[in-house]
Amino acid sequence: MKKSAGRNVQETCATTSEVMAAIESLSAEDFHRLKRAAGFRIRGLGRAAQLREYGDLLGEALASTLEGAEGGAKGRKWANQRVPFVKHLLGAMRSIASHWKDTWERGPECEMPDWLMAKDGDDGETAYATDQAADVRGSPGEQYSAQELLEELDKHFAEDEDARLVILAKVEGLTVPEMVTSLQLSEKKVNAAYQRIRYFIEMKGRKGA
């Protein structure tokens, strides 16, 4: 255990060996959750993913955590007494994906590993001192496939009112509590709709969409 160099000096964070050991302790359900979450984040990035795949996002989250375990100011600290490893990685991936989008939009600058710029926060949330971007712009075809996929979702869930509402609400940027309030849908129904949408996307992905 090491004292975090971050904002909370009382917080302890995992060492390199604790991080590596945690990989071996993950369950099959954890691995499935990590892969699905990474896949959706990469799919959402579209062209901004710059040909990266789910493994790149997951690998970056781990590399950043290992960097944080070195005890310096860089990387993400895993507060292993407080946060489960899988939750930490999920938070790190969320933050990295958001950072990749920002840097892609800022244009090509010198490419640097994500962990070099990362500053740790709670549950893997990260702030960056400097931004960066890569020069690969991704496929222009992504723009069209985004529209196509949205149209397909619209068509597929035309008879599924809950799923259709959840898609529309999410596209508008509503959170689950906002959906519950404004759409008069229970949280259970929202989550069930999400599950059906996830299944559709999963099957669509396997068909090469």
């Binding site: 390199t16 359900e29 691995f31 959750r33 699905r36 590399a63 892609w104 599950q195």
Partner: protein, 145 residues
């Protein structure tokens, strides 16, 4: 500057929502997802574990390379120190000798603050000798001279 278009932004928000829903879903729902999609959890666990192991290995290898580079730099620094004479008096004599033989170097190392050679501290002398060495202006292996 590149920008995601309207549809891409919309899809990104939806996908973020789906990713969030995966993060928040109870274990039973995640397992149900996998079963429904016909995923072999054992094969997938092996695949994802390997992604993490590989990322960990790459990170540690890079750290080792960095450590080796730092070690070599430190070694070169020690070597540079070792090339200087062992005692303060010998170092002072060496600098004095170099500046006597080549008075033109005096302008390089002596500033207005250090006009009096005898007033130089050993740290100043060592620093000047290092500067001369870096510039290649010091005789090779002066310690042996």
């Amino acid at each position: 500057m590149p920008k995601l278009d309207k549809h891409e932004e919309e899809l990104m928000r939806l996908m973020s929502g789906l990713a969030d829903s995966v993060e928040e879903a109870p274990a039973s729902e995640i397992l149900e997802d996998a079963e429904r999609a016909g995923v072999s959890l054992l094969d997938e666990a092996e695949e994802v574990r390997n992604v993490l192991r590989s990322a960990g290995r790459s990170h540690l290898q890079r750290k080792l390379r960095d450590s080796r580079a730092a070690y070599e730099t430190a070694l070169a620094e020690i070597q540079r120190e070792a090339d200087l004479p062992g005692s303060a008096e010998e170092r002072r004599q060496l600098l004095e000798g170099v500046l006597r033989d080549r008075p033109q170097y005096q302008e390089i190392v002596m500033t207005a603050q250090h006009r009096e050679f005898r007033a130089l501290s050993d740290d100043d002398v060592t620093s000047f000798l290092r500067q001369l060495k870096i510039l290649g202006l010091l005789p090779t292996s002066p310690a042996n001279k």
